[in-house]
Point group: C2
Chain length 332, copies 2
Amino acid sequence: MTDRKFDTTCIGNAIVDVIGKATDDFLAVEGLTKSSMMLIDMERAEDLYSKMEPALEMSGGSAGNTAAGVASLGGKSAYVGKVRDDQLGAIFSHDIKAIGVSFETEKSTSGAATARSLILVTPDAHRTMNTYLGACIEIGPEDIDPDVIAGSKVTYMEGYLWDPEGGKQAFRKAAEISHAAGQQVSLTLSDPFCVDRYRAEFLEFMEHGVDILFANEDEVKSLYETDDFNTALQAVRQDVDIACLTRSEKGSVIVSNSDVYEIAAESDIDVVDTTGAGDLFAAGFLFGYTNGRSLAESGRIGSIAAAEVISHYGARPAENLKDLVERQLSAA
Amino acid sequence: MTDRKFDTTCIGNAIVDVIGKATDDFLAVEGLTKSSMMLIDMERAEDLYSKMEPALEMSGGSAGNTAAGVASLGGKSAYVGKVRDDQLGAIFSHDIKAIGVSFETEKSTSGAATARSLILVTPDAHRTMNTYLGACIEIGPEDIDPDVIAGSKVTYMEGYLWDPEGGKQAFRKAAEISHAAGQQVSLTLSDPFCVDRYRAEFLEFMEHGVDILFANEDEVKSLYETDDFNTALQAVRQDVDIACLTRSEKGSVIVSNSDVYEIAAESDIDVVDTTGAGDLFAAGFLFGYTNGRSLAESGRIGSIAAAEVISHYGARPAENLKDLVERQLSAA
């Protein structure tokens, strides 16, 4: 019998990334909004893919990347997400287990294929994501194992999970179980357009259901419909216990009701592909937080993990993050 | 109607590479021969994959990499190889077309899945390949389009194509058409163990059927069953018009009946993954050769293309080789 105690259980859309280079002109011609995530149907996915450069495939999915990051840091993580019993599903399943994450969600055996995101990386290293949700729409509350959630210090969920209808239900069920077991619930806002789609629901859910929020600057400003980061920061600290606000090269800010910690971004990073930066920041923070580190230390681990993932293509760590963090923290 | 004239048509096993890191200990425990290619069945593929680190997927296949290289250099190339109508087949098909290669081989609609090679990259950047041939065994002479072969200055085939029975027949048919049209035939020996499997047939075929041979040091020594490179070199120049012999960091030697050219390896390369080095050398040489360059110049282009592909994971060029070669040749 496997151990059912985890630092973090991550719930999200299980996606294989299809990563290719693209020019800004290509984004313009295809009508894509740079640095955002757009949902597309199968027909559009095939059309866009046919126009894409040669690509490489790697497992992704926001919360999947976070679960992989926690495991690479030496933490115990589980993942809940839906793939089909197809070749891309086998790739997703292999990769998340191989890095040490517990992944037991039943694969769907009919219906849509495993989800993929066509990720266009422009020469400035920014990523523009076009996601076909596929089998992700099959997720539902029946995929939530109460023992796993009750045994997880933090249950972390991506805002993107609001897009498939069953995802929202799975999300609410998991949050209830987590809190009933005296554990904590964490949410990432995922994307400014995702915030646009679900602003009222996110705010309502945050009031009672979220202990730790992750958001980047655009997302938190979108949430409170303000152009001013500081206004958003003051608002969010009323709504959640801890907010982790990431600001790319300006570093990050960790806010609790009583404190504000500013964390500098790692310096001297040769940025290749920003995909996964927020996911790995969350992984680093949650690993630190669930292992007794201070908020500031946890934020620093988040910065180190994020810096690693943006230094190469793909949204999962390419080197062992435990060793990397130990080296970086001892060098300080 | 598309143009049916090509610099090079490449025929080979159509494979998606599954690339992961591994230690030398892992190779030993799994009984793998470092730097070789081993054929495995589906059961072994699943077993080995389940033990592999998280991986990335990229289109590969030796001759496929060469066709992609020729296209990236600005040449006109076509590819013949068999995939199934599954997700990996769609990936293979997309990638080779997206780089500019003509690929019209009919996909199989039943039988084995698209081929994959589990490629283990050790810390010294060497690759050890474990290939499940899958749909490749369905290739046959019916996949050879006489117009394409007759319209190709060089038809290039991988020794690996001898493994599926129909591959050998396709190979012989293509060679006959090529020569009947006054064009040239090229063969790569692929792997020393592949040479072991088919030594007599390769030698017999080379006598009448091969104008340009590619081999690395181990392969050509295996072919003539000698430990001495120079002995092999003197033997091979009797058997083919041109032999391109690659020697890793020792550079390469181009041998014709009358001349021997030594080409230095590119210097200052940070070697990450040697997969595709020979394939891209062949691409560079064939691009130069079919576009009127001298043997020595063609070899230099091969070296530049090979140096690019070993500087990153994956066996296909990550940057535009035409631009790279122009920069490197003008810098000389």
